[in-house]
Symmetry: C2
Subunit: 196 residues, 2 copies
């Protein structure tokens, strides 16, 4: 291997390492903010879980609040989930949810439910979810009871992710195609979207 | 107050105290088994959270495994949820879920979702849920894909509880009547039950 190849490889390795470090911090922070009250989460604890130094997290993400705002954000998932006209949204929601879960190797919304298991006086995670998912959905719906219907649609989305995770890896949902899941699960969603 | 009245009152107090103690142990144990891996849960920790002595828990419930089997059981909720003929089950599920949540001041099923937030090699809670809820439901369904439809029905039930808890206390779901929730949410469930 020439020295040029070597330094290219070293740079690629360093980039991969930096990426892995960032990914490890994000995962550890998500887990900590989901499972513990905000006040109990420490940068030191996240650093230990991610296998990096606390100062690296501060350098990369800033304060604890800045880190929270970076890692707990439902907007990009909502952007993809809601990217269909209302008449086709039910099926799009199911197909996109399955796709996002595969791409991120985890559920894009479900952590908000884990947070119900703890008593967090700040309930930041829930406020974030309501604002970025439920309220956004309600604003896109027409007809009566838009807010209530948006809450129930959010419920069905959370329920889909919950049941797929719960029955993994040998459940029927793990073996079904996304199309088959949509055939069965989309009509209930579409009915709530239509409000009819 | 006569001495007779006094001793009646004292007995009633002692019974109320015993009931409160049992209730406190059950709550603390449910919380511990939901939020922590089984191996990390200790009788000492549950006792401290419940404000009783570890020996009282052993006396009342037996071993840690016996306590787990007592407090984490979905059968009585399933008995009530599934007590309707298939043609009326969708609406019955929604009304019963709302009623159980009110009666127990908490969701009868949702703790299984909280448990997804932890990595528990034994996943006892999930196995219990699959056996007592999903498989029981699948056995009651006719038509194709009964197991898959049962998983999706379980998902919608979990999602209903999740969204009601998540949007409390000022969400639209908190102010809607059980009948209105059933009007909106039952058709999707009924469609999965019918398998049509």
């Amino acid at each position: 291997m020439s020295s040029t190849d070597g330094s290219v490889a070293a740079t690629a390795d360093a980039q991969a390492g930096a990426e892995t470090g960032r990914e490890a911090i994000v995962r550890a922070a998500r887990r900590a903010f989901t499972l513990r009250p905000y006040a109990e989460v420490t940068m030191r604890g996240i650093a230990a879980a991610a296998g990096v130094s606390p100062s690296l997290i501060v350098k990369r993400f800033g304060s604890k609040e800045a880190l929270f705002n970076t890692v707990v954000d439902f907007r990009s998932a909502a952007d993809e989930l809601f990217a269909a006209p209302p008449s086709a949204l039910g099926r799009h929601l199911v197909l996109t949810m399955v796709e996002l879960r595969e791409r991120f190797r985890g559920d894009p919304l479900l952590r908000v439910v884990f947070s119900l298991g703890i008593e967090d006086e700040r309930t930041l995670l829930r406020a974030r979810f309501r604002e970025q998912v439920t309220d956004r959905l309600a604003a896109a719906l027409t007809g009566p009871d838009a807010q209530l219907r948006a809450e129930l649609i959010a419920g069905q989305l959370l329920g889909l992710g919950a049941t797929l995770s719960l029955h993994r890896p040998d459940g029927a949902g793990s073996h079904a195609t996304a199309e088959r899941l949509a055939d069965l699960y989309a009509p209930g969603l579409q009915r709530l979207i239509d409000g009819a």
